[in-house]
Amino acid sequence: MAEDTNKLRVRLVTPERTLFEQPADAVELPSKSGYMEVLYGHAPLLAELGAGDVTVHGAATEGAGPTTRYNVSWGFVEVLPDRVTILANDALKPEEIDVPRAERQREHGEELWKQAGESEEAYTEALRVISEAEAKIASASEAAQSH
């Protein structure tokens, strides 16, 4: 028990299924206003997630290495002192990312950006598409380097 008490219970849930549910030492989260790291005993917090990587440190998975990464796009996170629940709209392992598709998505986003004109809504939407694509590409290339 003594060791377990310093572990966070981390859960990653997508609309389709629960992707990850394990105790871990720390989690890095891509909040909408920047990355943050959560350790055991963090103050309760609710935040909206942007596009980026969720990194779980010291998870108890066999053979997964010291860290596990997931690329997530949009969602919400609830942090409690001993528990982190991530509600992601979409989550992928870096190996699963389809890079050519992400590239196409970025081009599409840039196209939207050019067409946005005066509409603020269209700009926000274009930004969303671009940042999601860029986060995916970055995550995939990082995974390729580490191998």
């Binding site: 849930v13 997508t14 609309p15 389709e16 299924r17 629960t18 909040s31 909408k32 206003s33 103050a43 309760p44 917090l45 609710l46 935040a47 909206e48 969602g75 919400f76 609830e78 409690l80 629940t85 509600l87 709209n89 979409d90 067409q115 004109g117």
Partner: protein, 357 residues
């Protein structure tokens, strides 16, 4: 009177049919099991979104001081003049009255609202095909405005009821991104006051036996976390019995796996009795969560409908297999009688021939 050879041929053909319906039943049972799992796997997310919204509504001041209404466009109720109806049917036939019942409910809803303009979003191929025969499809014109940007203009209505969009193949893989697009388009239409309300017609699937057809109100939101049922068709006892029988013979558990523990866990999401730090202003969080809530409701409806479709097909195919067996028994009996009669006749002929000698 049919001769023995004809009867034998018919029996063979019915036997072949029985083989096919039996195979289809087993296939549906396997698919049902998979879609049931998917429906269950999708529940934690939906529960969590709902509970965090509920708790946000309770603890944060999101109400307008003057009117006492929630400050968000999705909570604004207007007189219902234009309605959007999302009809979720099956992609394939051979599912008993599954598709017919959905369409019947849809037509009844439309007839019950004769003075309103209704847009239909058809999900599922069967329903789309039928609705298209009955109602005109809305047409859009692509135009460029002064800055040369393409915009879409909707043509004048051809009738009070129009099909504003269809989504072929959406139910096959149920990709979340496509469901999300649909949810966002519905929200955009509501916010831009193109529609005053949105309903969804689908088959609810609690377990193999407990299914019902519901019309659920999607927008405007009145209260988060409460299903707004505008109408429901409950199955009869007889139907329930048939379903239980079919499930039993296909080896499907009648009650789905116990998930109460996981669900209780999910309900706690975002509701702990502490003061949260809000990374973003609560209003912003709230505005971000609402579209996800609508999406979760839609996705939930679709996963349930797919499971219900497979269950309906399994039941229908089980009935067909039983009917085929009954028919084979009848035909075999009939064939034996005919054969007997022929033999008796021949014996009489021989005997009377011998007596005449």
């Amino acid at each position: 009177m049919a001769n023995v050879l004809d009867l034998r041929r018919r029996i063979r053909s019915v036997k072949n049919t029985r083989q096919i319906t039996k195979a289809m039943k087993m296939v549906s049972a396997a698919k049902l099991r998979r879609s049931q799992e998917r429906a269950l796997a999708a529940r934690p997310y939906a529960r969590m979104i709902t509970s965090v919204l509920e708790s946000l509504v309770r603890r944060v001041d999101l109400f307008d001081e003057k009117t006492g209404n929630l400050v968000h466009p999705l909570f604004i109720t207007r007189p219902e003049k234009r309605i959007l109806l999302v009809v979720i049917s099956g992609d394939k036939g051979f599912a008993g009255a599954f598709n017919a019942n959905i369409l019947k409910t849809t037509y009844r809803f439309i007839q019950g609202n004769p003075d309103k303009e209704i847009d239909i979003e058809a999900v599922g191929r069967k329903g789309r095909d039928q609705l298209r025969r009955r109602y005109p499809v809305a047409s859009y014109v692509d135009q460029s405005n002064q800055e040369g940007r393409p915009t879409q203009w909707r043509d004048a209505r051809k009738g009070p009821v129009e099909i504003s969009g269809d989504h072929p193949g959406l139910l096959v893989n149920l990709e979340t991104s496509r469901v999300e697009d649909l949810a966002h388009s519905i929200i955009a239409r509501y916010v831009h006051e193109e529609i005053d309300a949105a309903y969804i017609v689908y088959n609810e699937f609690k377990s193999v036996i407990a299914q019902r057809l519901v019309i659920e109100k999607l927008l405007p939101l009145i209260e988060v976390g409460k299903q707004q049922i505008a109408g429901a068709v409950e199955p009869t006892e007889e139907e329930k019995e048939r379903r239980a029988e079919a499930a039993l013979s296909a080896g499907i558990e009648i009650e789905p796996a116990d998930t109460t523990e996981a669900e209780e866990e999910a309900e706690k999401f975002g509701t702990a009795n502490v003061d949260y730090i809000y990374e973003q202003p609560p209003e912003e969080l709230f505005a971000g969560l609402l579209p996800q809530y609508i999406f979760a409701m839609l996705y939930h409806a679709m996963t349930e409908s797919v499971a219900a479709e497979h269950a309906a097909r399994m039941t229908a195919m089980d009935s067909a297999t039983n009917n085929a067996s009954d028919m084979i028994d009848d035909l075999t009996l009939h064939m034996n009688r005919v054969r007997q009669a022929a033999i008796t006749k021949e014996i009489i002929e021989i005997v009377s021939g011998a007596a005449a000698l």
